[in-house]
Subunit: 275 residues, 2 copies
């Protein structure tokens, strides 16, 4: 079994690194439009070989580990792939991708979202443990054949992932709240703090709290710009509801209502029972 | 040299644990109004002995590791302490504390803010490495005698901390932006997400991004409620400026201005060069 990975960054590169250890896979081929990054991926041993886009098309499994707008484009170029090839995309949004899916690919296409990642990007950010113990959401498009669905389940479970199923609309709604909104907040916090503060103060006062809250503001604009656009409606709704919550906090401080403030904080503490 | 720690939680307990190794310190005494927590601190070896408030007053150094509103109260009860005793408070706000400082304590009082902590609280949260390599801000009140200032520097440098000096107003202004605002945001995010989502979705979709952004929402309400109140004006100003930044993000999404959005994200990426 031959695997072709399109996009050799954090996600694709880490996947290649893991899959090279799988004895049932004869070869992990890699493709990246950024030649320098592709070479780096090869040098780091993330893939067995680099390949042309045409060669990638002949693989048994093709993985799309690229920004969500690029996924929409590349799927069109994969129209003529054999229906025996499983095409798996790893995007963070689903509805737009599934909506734009060429009908020729419906029987062998799988939409997957591994809930794993770091703020780093590119081949050098890849590491073998990225997927271990993380959740992988599979948004089954009903038209996909059982053998392709099973391949995807086998592949992600081999990585040590916990697999859950969700439809595309639900996925985009919930990830807007739980993943995309936190990114919007972190980008906004980082930008605000760097506008207000000089480097020295950030270095001195940026303890573990600020570091934790601003870490994902270091994430790739190419990746997150397209996610924000593709999940526009859900994300805007989430930002507005979050703004209300923050306004509530402001109001309690303004009113010197420390009792209510502490109660509100205690409510937030309930997250301990969940995560 | 005898040290007395008032408040045997994460901060006080971790400090006791470290100081017990210091050969120049003959005894680390601990005091906590929560008897159960005090016993736990003793059992965990965070202090050598528990002591009464009266005994604590006889120590060479007294550390106040309690919420900022409690610091204001306890300082009044320490009025009659010998001027040879160094009183060090570890609060996250400074202006209100220094303003309320009894004049009897001015010559032997040090306001310190170790930029260290976790979301956990209580004696069982303490650990020896908490202060290692973190920054400690010293807000020198001009009236403090040199010997007390030197003692504080020696103590915090023994913990492996990097010491910096800042006046109280500047401290409160900058920590509002870099530390207190991130806490307000995290509490708001956690509360919003728990209102909108069930436990199952949070568990499944709460990857490293959400975990990082909501971690400090698990922090102690007793501690943070008082910080928000004592640093009210600065925090409100910070929240408002942050709200503007988030509004900017929303606007770019609404306008489908992906180019501007990516540029804004790239700006936030500059944090890589600082932290």
């Amino acid at each position: 079994m031959k695997i072709g990975i399109i996009g050799l960054g954090l996600m694709g590169g880490s996947l290649g690194l893991c899959l090279r250890e799988n004895k049932l896979i004869s070869k992990v081929l890699g493709y990246d439009t950024d030649e320098k990054n592709a070479k780096e991926a090869l040098n780091l041993g993330l893939v067995d070989e680099l390949a042309s886009f045409k060669e990638i098309k002949t693989c048994d499994i093709i993985i799309l580990a690229i920004p969500v707008d690029a996924i929409v484009k590349v799927l069109k170029e994969l129209k003529d792939t054999s229906s025996n090839t499983t095409i798996i995309e790893l995007g963070s949004t689903k509805k737009e991708i599934i909506k734009s899916l060429p009908k020729e690919l419906k029987s062998h296409f799988i939409a997957a979202h591994p809930m794993a990642g770091t703020e780093n990007s590119g081949a050098k950010a890849a590491f073998k443990e990225l997927y271990k113990n993380a959740v992988c959401v599979l948004c089954e498009s009903e038209a996909a054949e059982v053998k392709h669905r099973q391949r995807a389940v086998e592949l992600f479970s081999y990585l040590g992932m916990q697999i859950i199923f969700m439809n595309a609309s639900a996925h985009d709604h919930h990830t807007a709240i739980i993943s995309h909104l936190p990114h919007a907040i972190s980008f906004a916090l980082a930008n605000f703090v760097m506008k207000e503060e000089n480097k020295k103060n950030i270095v001195h006062l940026g303890g573990p709290s600020f570091k934790g809250m601003s870490r994902i503001a270091k994430s790739s604009p190419a990746m997150w710009g397209s996610i924000f656009e593709q999940n526009k409606e859900n994300l805007l709704a989430s930002i507005e509801l979050f703004q209300n919550e923050l306004e509530l906090c402001k109001k309690m401080i303004q009113d010197d209502d420390e009792k209510a403030l502490k109660k509100w904080m205690k409510k937030a503490n309930a997250l301990r029972d969940i995560l």
